[in-house]
């Protein structure tokens, strides 16, 4: 019994060492650096860099732009995914489509971003097709979809990467939650097709997948490879902006980069705690229910 207790304690300790300690130590160093207590340029405690970040617009515009890209990507993906999962529900369970829908999941962000760059840029494949078919007069007639101010290329790439995931998720929920039976019951009570969709199917699908949807908003907000390849200098997504501050030759930008990363971590932790307290059932398992 004592031996089992020791293994339990050791496992818990190992979990804390691997999961909590590195993040904690990293945050401590980042905090000290951002206040100029440690680091190459340390000149004693100062809140200058934090004031610059909190009062300046760079950090907040990066957070705002990341949030805008994430919301647009996830909402557009949800619309496409719901339409596909509901209209192709039988084909998604068996046949060619049931396997083909997994293919985009084989694409890492790096590869999809590279493909989109070659496909949607002014000199890309789509532009060449447009020129060959006579739709475009020259290369400049093609709209700027890559490295644009509205993040269109980033949003399109994220949508292409996320949509298959949501299609599979909704298709699985549709069958595991037995939505067909609820729809039959509602039909016997005289519900119309529109009411079935609005009052039965959509609420169940969205409610069951709500936490996953929130998590995806966070994932897209933190994405790095796609905006690095398809974004531009301003506005920048938060990961790209933070790395750029850290890697710049100007040493006075490094404390600002650390302050930005701490703020970002704090925002994500707050959102996670909010999700946890709002959706406690989601975090429970059969061992604790």
């Amino acid at each position: 019994m004592k031996k089992l207790y020791n293994i339990k304690s050791f496992s818990t300790l190992l979990f804390l060492i691997i999961v909590v300690l590195p993040v904690f130590c990293g945050l401590v160093y980042a905090t000290l650096y951002s206040f100029e207590i440690v680091g190459i340029i340390n000149s004693g405690f100062t809140t200058k860099h934090w004031e610059d970040i909190i009062q300046g617009s760079a950090f907040w515009s990066s957070i705002g732009f990341s949030f805008y890209v994430a919301i647009c990507s996830v909402v557009i993906s949800l619309i496409f995914a719901l339409a596909m999962a509901l209209s192709w529900k039988k084909n998604l369970q068996k046949g060619a489509l049931s396997t083909a829908i997994y293919l985009p999941l084989c694409f890492p962000g790096t590869v999809m971003a590279f493909f989109m760059f070659q496909f949607l840029s002014k000199s890309g494949f789509l532009s060449r097709l447009g020129f060959a078919s006579g739709v475009l007069e020259d290369i400049n007639s093609f709209p700027a979809l890559i490295n644009d101010a509205y993040g269109i290329g980033i949003i399109i790439t994220s949508v292409v990467l996320i949509t298959p995931f949501f299609v599979i998720l909704f298709s699985n929920i549709y069958h595991t939650e037995n939505i067909e039976a609820y729809k039959e019951l509602a039909t016997t009570f005289g519900a119309s097709k529109r009411q079935l969709l609005q009052k039965v199917t959509l609420p169940i699908l969205l409610k069951k997948s709500s936490v996953t949807i929130y998590l995806f908003i966070i994932f897209v907000m933190g994405s790095y490879e796609i905006p690095l390849l398809l974004g531009r200098q301003s506005p920048q997504m938060i990961s790209v902006a933070t790395v750029q501050k850290i890697q710049r030759f100007n040493l006075y930008d490094i404390p600002k980069g650390f302050a930005m990363s701490i703020l970002y971590v704090l925002i994500i932790m707050s959102v996670l705690l909010f999700l946890y307290f709002r959706n406690r059932d989601y975090f429970k398992s059969e061992t604790t229910k």
């Binding site: 496992s11 190992l14 997994y102 999941l105 694409f107 590869v111």
Partner: protein, 257 residues
């Protein structure tokens, strides 16, 4: 009819990037407004016969890192997650695991970087493995926490009641029942590591050239044909996995394993 046409159109559009990357990887010179590269040959693919080529090395560096990370996370995560799952503070541990899981790996790399510098791990193979392990381990725990349940616990206790030792219980009861969970964790972590760029580039200081790092290097050098080739190599293992079992490609929280 329209529904079927749309489905076929969708399947073709899904397969298009694979064909596009393959054609581009075989190409040379692609001036505007040519729709296809002017030369199509296997010249770019000749790296397969040259063990000193950058791509040949990058492929095996990526493979080595991903396999190491996947093996360590799968093995260690399996043992530790069991105690976490049955712990009274399970939910607290789960929330703690979600923090690094939700953070962008490149942000994690920024806050870890100092410790990797002072230990001399930046720019090393081992450093990249450790950094990726720290990012992937919480994900492994989250995968396994969906797996451990009351029924498994009862079977484990039954094994002890019938006189089974700890080793016998693991070998004869838990491991056979955990086959799917172990494989899902292994392949998911392998893919996380295989797809990783930001953290690998920062901790590896550009010295550890994985395939993802190579893609960005080739893009910077404006060598789109080699970049396409590296991209094609990047999607090969996941596609092979898809062929073996599509369920290993995707993990959705709160699903039965």
């Amino acid at each position: 009819m329209i529904k079927r046409t749309l489905q076929y159109g969708f399947i073709i559009s899904i397969g298009f990037p694979v064909v596009f990357l393959l054609v581009l990887s075989l190409g040379r010179r692609w001036a505007y407004p040519n729709i296809l590269p002017e030369q199509i040959s296997f010249a770019n693919w000749e790296f397969l016969q040259q063990s000193d080529s950058k791509l040949f090395q990058a492929f095996f560096v990526s493979l080595g890192i991903s396999l190491c990370v996947a093996v360590f996370v799968t093995a260690l995560g399996f043992v530790i997650s069991k105690f976490i799952a049955y712990s009274q503070r399970r939910n607290t541990f789960l929330v703690l695991a979600y923090i690094p899981y939700l953070l962008s790996p490149v942000i994690m790399a920024i806050i870890f970087q100092y410790y990797f510098i002072i230990t001399g791990l930046t720019g090393t193979f081992l450093g990249v493995i450790i950094a990726q392990f720290l990012v992937a381990f919480p994900f492994g725990i989250i995968i396994y926490l969906n797996f451990w349940n009351a029924q498994l616990k009862s079977m484990e206790e039954l094994s002890y009641t019938l006189g089974g030792s700890r080793w016998q219980t693991y070998k004869k009861v838990l491991l056979p029942l955990s086959k799917n969970a172990l494989m899902l964790c292994f392949f998911q972590v392998f893919l996380i590591s295989w797809f990783e760029y930001g953290l690998t580039n920062l901790i590896g200081s550009g010295k550890i050239r994985t395939l993802t790092v190579s893609v960005f290097n080739f893009v910077t050098e404006a060598n789109i044909f080699y970049a396409a080739l590296a991209c094609f190599l990047l999607i090969l293992p996941p596609m092979l996995l898809l062929y073996i079992n599509k369920r290993f490609i995707l993990f959705v929280e709160k699903t039965e394993l």
